[in-house]
């Protein structure tokens, strides 16, 4: 059975239907990239998966446990899903080390010494061990985002959801975050990534989902989507992105 199953998710904000029945599944160890124009419900989809917002209809399973069930232990389930935000959202009053450590200590009730060791290992993994004592405001955007990835990793999640992790970054800082994400994907982490980084999508994704107006228009391997898209909309979108950002690979 797939690690993550999303079945017919609907979500309305007011009268605006943002998600109109989205279904897909994600296999263990795979990286799936969600692309599409802004305002097509990609971020909402991620939030419905970890229940930061609750879908109006549809179901979500994580590792055979239903997240959308009325009696779901939502905090336990969220602890198994990392979430990396566009705006990093590192805890402003905590050092990088404490940001990474707080989840294991407060949510998983890990001993502080063990959690400190773990947090240092995760910071090292994203190349920021020497910034352990810095506060978020003392770090660049790229460094903050890497710390937030380390924070997600410290919970040993079953998968990590990335919500446009590089969209708030200056262009020269995008690379360091993508490098960390590529390494993660290679190490076998299961990832669901909403992004406009086509280079990343093309080289790392096992499968790409193209979403527009709250529905999945098309999904397939990068080769399928980039070289022979089935839907003319997919082709148009990729062409537009190509024009905007130059080369896509």
């Amino acid at each position: 059975m797939s690690l993550l199953i999303v079945e017919n998710i609907h979500k309305k904000y007011g009268t605006e239907e943002v998600l109109k029945g989205v279904s897909f599944s994600l296999e263990r160890g795979d990286t799936k990239v969600v692309i599409g124009p802004s305002g097509t419900g990609k971020s909402t989809l991620l939030r419905c998966i970890n229940h930061l917002s609750s879908p109006d209809a549809g179901r979500v399973w994580l590792d055979e446990v239903e997240v959308t069930a009325a009696k779901a232990k939502i905090n336990e389930l969220r602890a198994q899903m990392g979430f990396v935000f566009q705006s990093f959202n590192l805890f402003s009053h905590l050092t990088a080390l404490s940001n990474v450590r707080i989840g294991p200590v407060k949510v998983k009730r890990m001993k502080k010494e063990a959690a400190t060791k773990l947090a240092m290992e995760e910071l090292d993994r994203v190349g920021l061990a020497e910034k352990a004592d810095c506060y978020p405001a003392q770090l660049s955007g790229g460094q903050q985002q890497r710390v937030s990835i380390a924070r997600a990793l410290a919970m040993s999640p079953k998968l990590i959801l990335f919500d446009e992790p590089t969209s708030a970054l200056d262009p020269e800082l995008i690379g360091e975050v993508l490098t960390v994400m590529i390494d993660l994907a290679k190490s076998g982490m299961t990832m669901l990534v909403v992004t406009h980084e086509m280079g990343f999508a093309r080289s790392v994704a096992d499968e790409i989902i193209f979403m527009e107006h709250g529905v999945i228009v098309e999904q397939g391997t990068p080769e399928q989507l980039f070289s022979s898209p089935k839907s003319p909309r997919t082709g148009e979108f990729l062409h537009k992105i190509n024009e905007l950002y130059g080369e896509t690979g």
Partner: protein, 221 residues
């Protein structure tokens, strides 16, 4: 007669009472203020609305009226409180309303992304408030609370109107006995000034001690 200073030591007793009243009312205000702010922000409407009504009443009526109501008014309902209890209760209940509003503002100044991040790693609402939102809100609120503490230090002088012999009460008695209004009130004013100065310095130190880069800096100017 003009240089008769023998009344000076009496002021020391008043000074101690002023400090006692201020500390007690601030303590009441902090505890109650935190509860009111949490009720306003996190309580559903059944908790939030009563908290809001409380705050409106205590901010919307004069402190002196509140004090006189408690000391002279409550006995007609059979509730007799000592002058000291009435004083700290009036000041405490009043400052709680202001402190609650400052803290509510500070809680709401913490970006919602912080709460999302906490919840998304599996923290409960209580954990997220306790470990993520409130530690930031408390740092943001320090400057406002400092002002409130200084105000209370000075407003505590109204307890003379319920017969308490705080700094102001003692001064009034000495002044009217000896007709030394000018000298006595000048000295009393200097006492308050010195107290306010010391408190300000202490709070600055506290603010520096708990300061975190990038947090609450926009409020310092």
């Amino acid at each position: 007669m003009i240089f008769e200073w023998s009344w000076l030591p009496q002021l020391a007793h008043g000074l101690i009472l002023t400090i006692e009243i201020t500390v007690t009312c601030i303590a009441i205000g902090v505890v109650l203020g935190i509860l009111l702010a949490l009720g306003r922000v996190y309580g559903g409407k059944w908790i939030s609305i009563p908290c809001s009504i409380y705050i409106q009443i205590f901010r919307g009526t004069p402190l002196l009226v509140q004090l006189l109501m408690i000391y002279y008014g409550l006995p007609s309902w059979g509730i007799m409180l000592s002058a000291f209890t009435s004083g700290v209760l009036a000041l405490g209940l009043n400052t709680a309303a202001y402190q609650a509003e400052y803290l509510r503002g500070a809680i709401q100044a913490v970006k919602t992304g912080q709460l999302f991040a906490a919840r998304s790693m599996g923290m409960s609402m209580v954990q997220a408030a306790r470990y993520v939102v409130l530690p930031q809100a408390f740092r943001i609120v320090i400057p406002s609370w400092s002002n409130e503490l200084i105000l209370m230090l000075k407003y505590s002088s109204i307890v003379f109107s319920v017969t308490l012999l705080d700094l102001m009460g003692v001064a009034k008695r000495i002044a009217s006995h000896n007709f030394l209004y000018f000298e006595v009130y000048i000295v009393v004013a200097l006492f308050y000034l010195a107290l306010v100065f010391m408190v300000t310095q202490l709070l600055r130190m506290l603010e520096k001690k708990v300061h975190i880069p990038g947090l609450g800096e926009h409020l310092e100017g």
